[in-house]
């Protein structure tokens, strides 16, 4: 697989480390009433879809940026690659 890095261009997937579902960006509010339930779901439950999947890849052997890669889990086709920093800010995280 080739990941088209937004800053560095096409890079081999072997340069990256895979973490998992990009939903991990959306950390629950620890102050919330049901925080224990929400953190259980956040830490342990996954959608694991067959088809389009947004996921976090870390460019360990490159510029060490985190990326949000949209990839089809049935074909391995990558349709979008964004900096996780930008994606997290868009979702309301401050960094």
């Amino acid at each position: 697989m080739i990941i088209n890095h937004p800053l560095l261009g096409p890079r081999d997937a072997a340069e990256f480390v895979y973490l998992g579902d990009a939903a991990l960006i959306d950390r629950p509010d620890p102050e919330a009433e049901n925080a224990d339930e929400k953190f259980y779901e956040y830490g342990y439950l996954r959608d694991n879809p067959a088809g389009e999947h947004q996921e976090l890849w870390y460019h360990e052997q490159g510029d060490r940026s985190w990326l949000v890669v949209t990839r089809d889990t049935l074909t391995h086709e990558i349709t979008s690659v964004k900096l996780a920093r930008d994606e997290a800010k868009k979702r309301g995280r401050d960094k």
């Binding site: 081999d12 830490g43 694991n48 889990t73």
Partner: protein
Amino acid sequence: MTILEKYSYPNPETLKKQHLKGAIMRYSAFEILKQGLSGNKGWKPVWREPEPKAEYDVIIVGGGGHGLSTAYYLSKVFGMRNIAVLEKGWLGSGNIGRNTTIIRSNYMMPGNQPFYEFSLKLWEGLEQDFNYNAMVSQRSILNLFHSDPQRDAFVRRANAMILSGADAELADEAQLRRELPFLDFDNARFPIKGGLYQRRGGTVRHDAVAWGYARGADSRGVDIIQNCEVTGFDIENGVCTGVQSSKGRIRAKKVAVCVAGSSSRVMSLAGMRLPIESHVLQAFVTEGLKPTLPGVITFGAGHFYVSQSDKGGLVFGGDIDGYNTYAQRGNLPVVEDVAEGGMAIMPMIGRARLLRSWGGVMDMSMDGSPFIDKTHIDGLYFNGGWCYGGFKATPASGYCYAHLLANDTPHPVAKEMRLDRFKRGHIIDEKGQGNQPNLH
């Protein structure tokens, strides 16, 4: 007390009496001679191909190794008869046909090890039990170690194995040099200092396991329905009353899902999210060679394991690819990694030509251990999360799942394999990697 007595495996005499009451042929040397002399025209199909009935006591979703062994033990040991196995493709078309056929019970955690030892004991009696040649070959499995701390960890593991009733044996470097002279003992990064043997480990003819269980279940009246995909569950007021399938609605008192590799997809039809990611594991086989490897050899430090099939091919593999996928194929970086592991520990493998490679999709769970449990929906049961170790578990998985379905209580050796264990903090994490499936 042996583990079988402890966990109430039925008396062998009772089993013999129950043995194959149906109309199917019994295989024997005499039968082969008789058929040979009469032109081999008298062989009968190994199982029926029935259409589904309107209702069953138990529907098992998934006709792979675990589903078929569940049906077999439900009908044979737990006395249930009105059972269907629904299989989306053909029988045994999933991971029972895509693995590297290794059996062993060299785990360590108390939630795992007694279960795998129970499974190994069932393997040892399997062929006589279901009268089918599964080519169970206890040719040994060896885990290599390369340092003092690793040896100490293996000694600890060996003790845990022995406590569960399994066998374990530590071999030093001199012994391995005698037994396996072709290994690269003086590898600069991973010099071989010894290994942990389990002599009762080995390999099994994987397809025959599916066929043998299918034949045994079918002969006791289990309907095995192929090309029948489950497309939904009928759930009313928190109770599962049956399934929707490509052959229409089928009612059931209990629905038992057993589709490792596709667990998240199938359970999402019941609105459930699982502590599982799907990953691909690749495997490889070379051209046939003369007998070279006496048993299974694993090089954990370098992500490589190898055995030799009865046809002579070297069967080997390594790590999972490491990203979510449902494609039954992997990518080249892992091929390279596995090849490097092989060359590092067993340089002669470089002379063998690769014949085939393939990938299997597996349920990687959050702690690397499986699930055999009820769900929060009455009448809906779940078996999955086998990671890359489901094949060896086939007999005990089916036996324990059947026990759960028949009695609604977990079998003692599977009582920690619960779906809610992460919520309770009772994880079974052999490698201590935490909740990241691709590290297990």
